[in-house]
Amino acid sequence: MSESRCVRALVLGDHVNTDLLHPPRFFGTAREAVLPGFLGGYPPEVAARFRPGDLIVGGVNFGCGSSREAYVRAFRYAGVGGVIAHSFSRIFYRNLINAGIPLATHPTLYQALTPWETVHWETDGWTLTRCAGGEVIALTPPDAHLRRILAAGGLLRYLGLEAEHAV
């Protein structure tokens, strides 16, 4: 595993809610308003350590809470490479897929990884490789309908509301 392909995994727990991921007071549309709220419910060193491309790995019911997609913008602006959780809250799940942000499920990954462990996720495949040791972990992809939306690059492209080249 070449080091350059590795990113780090921010490992979080169960029931990570949208107010922790992006507190309401950072609601907005502009990058400068939204990005400072990324992971704003956690101590500031968490967001400071996150680098574009890094993954977020969580537990049960990840993303529970609000429907407001300001957190999706925050994820995009922060360059979240993908999210792998035990399970997702349903609105959050749709929102991430609609935005074309890769996601997958795995029942115990959040317990197996060490904090900020380096991993590699080839997001068009459904395996994760631990960079130290090279262990390959099989992930569960979203079901077929959702994979089609994800593969199209998000809902608007999938529905033909947006051309492939538009963004």
Partner: protein
């Protein structure tokens, strides 16, 4: 292999699909009503305009300005301006500062039993109080709904919930919701629907039903609906003047069922920092408070104002305690004024504000400062939602909130009201 009869959700969605559907399958269905509010529509206006989309059926849409009502920040005033202009330009039903989106849907004639309703807000489940199939979606899904008139659903499995008995006078629908949260936790009803049947002695009010359906989303539920009955029929007759009647149906065959005996239920409370972190009020009574909030789609309706007024009548709230009450709609506020509840609250020292989401969302009046603790009727108490990480929120019924408003500490409602035999 036996083929079980469809659940109510399966039957309602089959009607929309024009063919039988079963839990687990993905169906694309036309939606009857689409709701978006100032804090979600704002996110999709630029996209919608850039893509040259048109609203397929403006008559099916409701837009509310309730989260920033009115805005206290310039950037949010800018976002709301865009929402107002967009709605007016496209001929949408704009409700500017008329109340909380979910309460306005409950009051709207377009929302009836079986209506398929999607809203750009997680608490859209509330409309299940009248028997609608109602669920929350994000802004992008709503954008697509506005443009195409339809969206996809995974048909949910159903959980049958039966409510029985006669509640104590201070036990409200919110306590049943807190009981369910204790039972299911934050994810236990995930991706499923609650089908609620009211077998209580006197029938739960529509206000209590709304509080329960609203909070179902905090259990992960996709939808929650009360099987329409005499209470539903009376509500719809009063609202629409239409002669609704409903047969007394047997419960649909749900894979999982649950009965809540309201006789045995006492006031419950959700402790920091999860709406499912449930305790009895007695377990945390005496906890000092800095703020009490009565409002939100989970607790700002007429029966909440009636309860609050009954408890604080002739007394004053604890010195130094911030007590805020916000009606969930103009209709609620007008009736609460007519019945004298607002006067009673003002006389007791309660700050009564205009119909809106108020302090629930952490983006309007009523946020917390460092180290502050609040008791609220609102929907969520996630860490950092209302204030800094070291602030804390408890969630309970209006009876518990009003009782605690008098003492400045978490207080069981029986201690301030019923002991005097009121």
């Amino acid at each position: 292999m036996t083929i079980s009869s469809p659940t109510r959700l399966e039957a309602l969605l089959a009607e929309k699909a024009g063919r039988p559907v079963r839990a687990g399958e993905v169906v694309t269905l036309p939606v009857d009503v689409i709701m978006a509010h100032d804090a979600t529509l704002a996110l999709l206006i630029d996209e919608f305009t850039r893509l040259g989309c048109a609203v397929r059926d403006p008559d099916r849409v409701m837009v509310t300005c309730d989260h920033f009502a009115p805005p206290a920040r310039i950037d949010w005033a800018d976002l709301q301006r865009a929402v107002i202009d967009f709605s007016q330009r496209r001929g949408l039903d704009l409700r500017l500062y008329q109340g909380i989106c979910h309460q306005l849907l409950l009051e709207d004639r377009r929302v009836t039993p079986g209506t398929l309703l999607v809203g750009a807000d997680s608490h859209t489940t509330l409309a299940g109080a009248v028997g609608a199939v109602a669920t929350g979606l994000g802004a992008t899904d709503i954008l697509a709904c506005l443009a195409t008139g339809e969206t996809w659903f995974r048909v949910p499995e159903s959980i049958g919930v039966t409510l029985t008995g006669a509640p104590k006078p201070w036990v409200m629908g919110r306590d049943a919701a807190l009981y369910l949260l204790g039972h299911f936790g934050e994810a236990g009803a995930g991706y499923r629907a609650l089908e609620l049947r009211d077998r209580t002695a006197n029938g739960l009010t529509m206000d209590s039903r709304a509080a329960i359906c609203c909070m179902a989303t905090e259990m992960g539920a996709k939808a929650a609906l009360f099987v329409p009955d005499a209470v539903t029929a009376a509500f719809l007759r009063a609202r629409d003047g239409a002669p609704w009647t409903f047969p007394d149906e047997d419960a649909a065959a749900c894979a999982e069922t649950l009965t809540i005996a309201l006789d045995a239920l006492d006031s419950l409370i959700a402790c920091p920092h999860s709406p499912a972190n449930i305790a009895g009020v007695r377990e945390v009574e005496g906890t000092p408070l800095h703020q009490v909030y009565i409002g939100s789609c989970a607790g700002g309706r007429l029966e909440d104002f009636a309860m609050a007024a009954a408890i604080v009548a002739g007394r004053t709230v604890a010195p130094g305690l911030k007590v805020i009450a916000v009606p969930s709609s103009v209709t609620v506020m007008r009736e609460a004024m007519r019945r004298g509840y607002i006067h009673t609250l003002l006389d007791a020292g309660v700050c009564v504000s205009n119909p809106s989401c108020g302090a629930c969302g952490g983006i309007d009046k009523g946020v917390l400062g460092s180290g502050e603790t609040a008791l609220m009727t609102s929907t969520r108490n996630f860490q950092g939602r209302l204030g800094p990480r070291d602030s804390a929120v408890y969630l309970a019924s209006t009876a518990v909130c009003a009782a605690s408003a008098l003492t400045g500490r978490i207080t069981h409602p029986a201690d301030v009201w019923w002991e005097e035999g009121r």
